[in-house]
């Protein structure tokens, strides 16, 4: 019989704190991915199934750039820019023709794109996972663990990227255009805002963000052609839980879900810990379907 006191005595407090840090780190990467997803959905009503593949291709590009130049930061910039361009091209070729049609068609098209991109990666890079070395080593002591600095840095970088994007949205002409287009697409056009190009640019930005998260995340896991699938799924869960189109909500939800999963990993295996995010989703759908972190609509 385990008494309550025993429970607290045996409570793995240090493990909990380590997992908190891990959860925040993963959460920030997930937040970056989810930001791109929710941005694209909020502004264009497009559910971007291919988002995970853009993440994956960003990671692969990072691998290539590092293999040739050895410079991680260059990889980050190049991957983001190239994938942003790819995103813009995809949007112009496949999504623009669909404007005015049933928005569900965009799900189908982006799903098709994700299949093509995934298999393209498999074809070009093969099934064996690649790895990027951490851009700098160095650990600090977190309890009994040697915790790599790098992990904190990527969390910080993700936050920086999201933060600068938020600033960009708030100030600056383009930010106004994006916000106006989100609120009232028709009147935005009537005000001379070139809405089709705003859409392309938003898709490009979202793609770039996905690619950046791919490069940031690559040193932590192996890069392979199917890494996108899991993340896009988690991304969707986070976006629904955070409130579709709600940037702040997605970020909060991303960290929330990641923390819960990290804690769950203490007791169950990681592949089972994923169930936590599913449960959160189900609960959200049952009780607050507009999003957990959204103020109740009046």
């Amino acid at each position: 019989m385990v008494t309550v006191l025993d429970f607290f005595r045996n409570f793995p407090l240090d493990l909990l704190l380590i997992q908190t840090v891990n959860g925040i780190v993963t959460g920030m990467i997930l937040a970056l991915i989810a930001s791109g997803l929710t941005l694209i959905f909020g502004i264009m009503d497009v559910v971007n199934f291919a988002h995970g593949e853009l993440f994956m291709l960003g990671a692969y590009l990072g691998v290539l750039v590092i293999a040739t130049t050895g410079n991680f930061w260059l990889a980050l910039v190049v991957a983001s820019l190239v994938i942003a361009l790819l995103g813009a091209a995809l949007q112009v070729v496949t999504l623009r023709p669909l404007i005015g049609r049933d928005p569900l068609m965009t799900i189908l098209v982006t799903f098709g794109i994700s299949l093509v991109l995934q298999n393209y990666a498999l074809w070009q890079f093969g099934p064996v996972a690649r790895k990027i070395p951490e851009p700098f080593s160095g650990h600090f002591n977190l309890f009994y663990l040697e915790y790599p600095w790098y992990r904190l840095v990527i969390a910080g970088l993700s936050a920086a990227i999201i933060g600068s994007f938020w600033m960009f949205l708030k100030y600056g002409t383009f930010g106004i255009w994006i916000r106006a287009t989100t609120q009232d697409r028709t009147m935005a056009q009537a005000m001379g805002i070139p809405v089709p190009w705003v859409h392309t640019a938003v898709f490009a930005i979202g793609s770039g963000m996905a690619a950046a998260s791919g490069v940031l995340f690559a040193p932590l896991v192996g890069v392979d052609h199917s890494m996108g699938l899991d993340w896009v799924l988690k991304g969707f869960i986070v976006v629904v839980v955070g409130g579709m189109g709600n940037l702040g909500g997605s970020i909060a939800a991303a960290i929330f879900v990641s923390l819960l999963e990290s804690y769950a990993s203490i007791w169950v295996s990681p592949s089972q810990a994923v169930i936590v995010s599913f449960v959160v989703l189900i609960l959200t759908l049952l009780f607050r379907p507009t999003g957990l972190f959204v103020p109740t609509p009046k």
Partner: protein, 320 residues
């Protein structure tokens, strides 16, 4: 008007009979590989047709069909493993119950959501089941799945006869034809008309006084049942069950069959499935396992340029 309808009926049913006859005769003349190919096309066609009931007629795009299909498969597997000698009808029963249960569960949560949210939620649910099956290794065999022996075809336990490729094909053909007739009947009934009305304008249908949520629920379950049936057939044909089939990509491919074949036609998705599998076969010769690159591009092009699919132009005609 009746004259035209009779005229249409004659053409339709004659055509139908001809096609069924051709499909029936096919295994007698085709080489072994194509025999199996045809059977498999029919099974995936059944899955696509089931999905069409939900997507094409009720207007709810679902990415959850892999869960229904997969649970039908595992349900059948359970029956075939647990009971000896393996009984075909028990397998079907188990499979249908399993998929119906899953459909009920998924429907309960996702029904109140509209459009895109429904699609995403069904997708996530199929992933939930994937993870559950994948990790619950003791029961489901986890990653490796389950293998079992094919049951014999028998009526009330009498005269058990082993399936050959040909008889398997006929059995599947019979099930698919019956399913089609049943689904067709349902979609043309008053119930089906309400579903189509929901697709056209949900708010108005509700305003008229229909309990839209209930209709949607039944639609999901119906769709889930036939998808589960397809899963049972697949299990019986292939003699194994694996979590790969519960992965949402299978749902995605189902939607591809629907779009390629023509949603809202019931037969269209079957054609779409066959078309996709044909494309896969053809491209596999040149691209080996990367066939999805050209096929994916074709799919994207079809969504953009021919969203009505191969049979979509005949949609009105097929639904008279």
């Amino acid at each position: 008007m009746t004259k035209i309808r009779d005229h249409h009926s004659i053409i339709f049913w004659t055509g139908f009979a001809v096609i069924v006859a051709l499909l029936g005769v096919a295994p007698l003349v085709l080489p072994e590989f194509w025999r199996r190919f045809l059977t498999e096309s029919l099974i995936w066609g059944l899955l696509a047709m089931a999905s069409d009931g939900l997507t094409g007629y009720t207007g709810m795009i679902s990415f959850g069909h892999s869960a229904f299909f997969g649970l039908g498969m595992y349900g059948a597997a359970a029956a075939l493993i647990l009971f000896s000698p393996p009984n075909l009808w028990l397998a079907i029963a188990f499979g249908l119950v399993a998929s119906a249960a899953v459909a009920l569960f998924v429907a309960y949560f996702s029904i109140r959501l509209r459009d895109i949210y429904f699609a995403i939620t069904t997708l996530i649910f199929s992933q939930i089941f994937y993870v559950l099956i994948f990790t619950w290794t003791e029961v489901t065999g986890g990653e490796n799945g389950l293998t079992f022996t094919r049951p014999r075809l028998s009526l009330f336990g009498l005269f058990p006869v082993r399936f050959t490729t040909t008889t398997m094909h006929w059995f599947v053909l019979a099930v698919v034809v019956l399913s089609y007739l049943l689904l067709r009947r349902v979609m043309h009934s008053p119930f089906g008309m309400v579903l189509q009305s929901i697709r056209e304008n949900e708010a108005r249908t509700r305003a008229i006084g229909y309990a839209v949520q209930r209709y949607k629920m039944v639609s999901v379950m119906l769709s889930g049942l036939f998808a589960g049936l397809a899963g049972v057939l697949y299990a019986v044909q292939k003699e194994f069950a694996a979590p790969d089939f519960v992965y949402f990509v299978v749902s995605g491919e189902t939607v591809i069959y629907n779009v390629m074949g023509g949603i809202g036609t019931l037969v269209g998705p079957i054609v779409g499935a066959a078309f996709f599998l044909m494309l896969r076969e053809t491209f596999s010769r040149f691209f080996t396992e990367h066939y999805l690159i050209p096929v994916g591009i074709i799919f994207i092009a079809m969504v953009i340029f021919t969203p009505q699919g191969l049979l979509g132009f005949a949609r009105r005609w097929l639904n008279r």
